[in-house]
């Protein structure tokens, strides 16, 4: 039986990829960013996953306006790093896990998540920057990522994007799907994007440390509550691109401390009994830094216990 052992959360700022690819990671501007990932690089060496289920968003790369899937799962054997306009990043091809991906697709579609199944797509910085941050640049004589990756793309570009509650429930369904796969795989689920940032208009450059840190607090301790925060709060408080944070809720919903029953809308006066949590998650690492280019960088590692 496969098992989700941990979840990793991180911003996926394109400039971080550029800094790595252009050898700028030792510059004073970038040093504090990469320092925040040193723990994670060591941790993942000691806890190597067999497969990563990587939640990210496509930034007008694989998906133009011709087709905009709310949720898309990559079931292909491999995915090429995309040319986003600056030429492709010099990173390895991403190897998929078609069997597990197809299994998860089958299971969550039967649980009423209306996925789009994708057998051909290039992956952009949203997926490759997190891999670079956690694994560094693979050596030239063994130029590959350490494990297969299942890309899971969420539409956060054209509104409406899926709600926090929908994302959180999807995480629960993914956990159920993984746990019904009949091979003993160590699976990590990663949630990427965010934190506060705005890339457009006269409000570009918005950063909200208070919002970001409150989000991290609540993602750890009260993810169900965080899942009910409406989109407008993210936009207003964390910038128009801060909405990417809803993707972290997918990864969080897949952890063992979460009641696997779907979260439904509850009438305001309903009394809610919170069961004592038999499976607390362990916070292995937490990091926050401003800025990387236009963006606040957040990073979190949670392990199931």
């Amino acid at each position: 039986m496969a098992k989700i052992t941990a979840s990793v959360y991180t911003s996926h700022v394109p400039a971080i990829g550029a800094a790595l690819d252009l050898g700028k990671s030792n510059e004073p501007y970038w040093q504090p960013v990469f320092k925040g990932y040193e723990f994670g690089k060591q941790w993942i060496k000691e806890n190597p996953p067999d497969v990563i289920f990587l939640v990210y968003n496509d930034h007008a790369t694989a998906f133009s306006l011709d087709m905009i899937p709310t949720f898309a799962i990559g079931t292909a054997a491999e995915f090429q790093p995309a040319d986003e306009g600056w030429g492709p990043r010099p990173v390895p091809t991403v190897i998929g896990h078609p069997e597990l991906a197809a299994h998860i697709a089958q299971s969550v579609i039967q649980d009423d998540f209306d996925l789009t199944i994708v057998n051909k797509m290039d992956v952009d910085h949203g997926l490759t920057v997190p891999l670079s941050l956690m694994f560094g640049q693979p050596p030239a004589d063994d130029f590959r990522w350490p494990c297969p990756v299942i890309p899971f793309a969420v539409n956060v570009v054209q509104y409406p994007v899926p709600s926090g509650k929908r994302c959180f429930n999807l995480g629960k369904a993914i956990r159920k799907a993984v746990e019904s796969f009949d091979q003993p795989l160590n699976v990590q689920i990663w949630g990427t994007g965010g934190m506060s940032h705005q890339l457009q208009g006269p409000r570009a450059g918005l950063i909200n440390k208070e919002f970001d840190n409150a989000f991290l607090d609540r993602l750890i301790a009260d993810p169900e509550g965080q899942a009910s925060v409406p989109h407008i709060d993210y936009v207003r408080e964390a910038g128009s691109e801060g909405i990417e944070l809803v993707m972290w809720l997918i990864a969080r919903g897949a952890m063992d401390d979460i009641d696997p029953a779907p979260l439904v809308a509850v009438a305001p006066d309903a009394t809610k009994s919170v069961p004592a949590n038999a499976h607390p998650v362990s916070v292995k690492h937490r990091f926050y830094h401003v800025p990387a280019s236009n963006t606040a960088v957040g990073h979190l590692i949670l392990e199931n216990t």
């Binding site: 509104y159 006269p202 570009a204 450059g205 407008i232």
Partner: protein
């Protein structure tokens, strides 16, 4: 449409919804075409001719030629699509984002290094934050503009 758009009162911010998407369809699809190296070359060789291959409005074409990203966004562009123009010009996301504030590159970069733009006064249209309409353009450009009009 009658679904509430509860995101229209955020200052200096355009939410890319179905209506914007419809307006900007050809503009954004033009941007996508710049993901191919040969198209970037053709665009750089003769921007106007390349733009004329697309069913964009004249206003959209002018906004692209002027690299006026705020205007592009008002006309239905989305920043992730428009970024392909910046990439073609060799610009970073920070340079593109900064260009929409009126600040110089240095001014914008400094703002980010010092913790970015504050949300205070920038949550709702009508407050007095630096992203509000009455304070545009920002940076030195704005100071001279304000002096000129004073």
């Amino acid at each position: 449409m009658s679904l509430q758009k509860n995101y229209l009162d955020v200052p200096g911010t355009t939410i890319f919804d179905a209506e914007q998407s419809r307006k900007g369809y050809h503009l954004n699809q033009f941007c996508m075409s710049l993901m191919k190296a040969e198209n970037r070359e053709r665009f750089k060789a003769d921007e106007r001719a390349y733009l004329d291959e697309w069913a964009m409005t004249e206003e959209q074409k002018q906004a692209v030629l002027a690299r006026d990203l705020n205007r592009c966004i008002a006309l239905g562009g989305n920043i992730y699509f428009l970024a392909k123009i910046g990439a073609t010009d060799g610009k970073s996301f920070q340079q593109m984002a900064g260009s929409m504030t009126g600040m110089t590159e240095e001014e914008y970069r400094d703002m980010m290094i010092h913790g970015g733009r504050s949300v205070e006064g920038n949550r709702v249209v009508g407050e007095d934050g630096d992203a509000q309409a009455q304070h545009q353009p920002q940076g030195k450009a704005g100071h001279s503009a304000q002096k000129a009009s004073a």
